[in-house]
């Protein structure tokens, strides 16, 4: 190792490790930039994936809960009442449980997979279902009344 080269090295790096330190530095730089970009785009990226701005943030939370327990009646309460009921209360176990799971030593969730902007689709489907059910009920009511 000639003296001039040794002099150009960063403080604390000897010639023997110069190459290794150079590559570590590059990888560290990549990690730093990637980590920061990833962290700052996570929230907006997820919101857009789920259906914002068609759905508000609260509606996204709401649809996520409906998927999690496969239950149209699950609701995202904002704010969640202090000491309020467990969000999964009655949905995971019990006679009216809605959550889909294969229970076992390693449980397997069976909820719906959420693709790009699927929460908007799920909501529209549900609204349609509810409208149809309502129309059906009215029809029965009217038929019964006449």
């Amino acid at each position: 190792m000639n003296k001039n080269e040794e002099k150009d090295l960063p403080l604390g790096t000897t010639g023997h490790f110069a190459n290794m330190h150079k590559w570590l530095q590059r990888a560290l730089f990549v990690c730093l930039v990637a980590l920061v970009l990833e962290a700052s785009f996570s929230l907006p990226g997820l919101l857009v994936w789920f259906g914002w701005p068609t759905l508000s943030m609260t509606e996204v939370c709401d649809e996520l809960m409906k998927v999690r327990w496969s239950d149209d009646n699950a609701e995202c309460l904002v704010p969640h009442p202090l000491y309020g009921a467990n969000e999964g209360e009655g949905r995971t176990t019990g006679p009216n449980a809605t959550a889909q799971d294969q229970w076992g030593i390693q449980p397997r969730p069976e909820y719906k997979r959420i693709g790009f902007r699927d929460l908007v689709k799920f909501r529209d489907d549900r609204l349609l279902r509810e409208a149809e059910a309502k129309a059906q009920a009215e029809l029965i009511y009217r038929t019964a009344g006449s």
């Binding site: 000897t14 023997h16 490790f17 290794m20």
Partner: protein, 44 residues
């Protein structure tokens, strides 16, 4: 000379660190591949 001793130690240290890196990254890769294997079995 003492300079030779140091570089001998450095050589061994460098070798150990390279082995350490190779082991760790191959462990990670192995686990990742194993998870992909599970993925192929169980239709997640």
């Amino acid at each position: 000379m003492s300079k030779n001793e140091i570089s001998e130690q450095d050589r061994r240290r460098k070798k150990a660190l390279i082995v350490f890196q190779v082991l760790l990254y191959s462990y990670l890769l192995g686990l990742f591949l194993f998870q992909l294997h599970l993925y192929s079995l169980s239709d997640w």
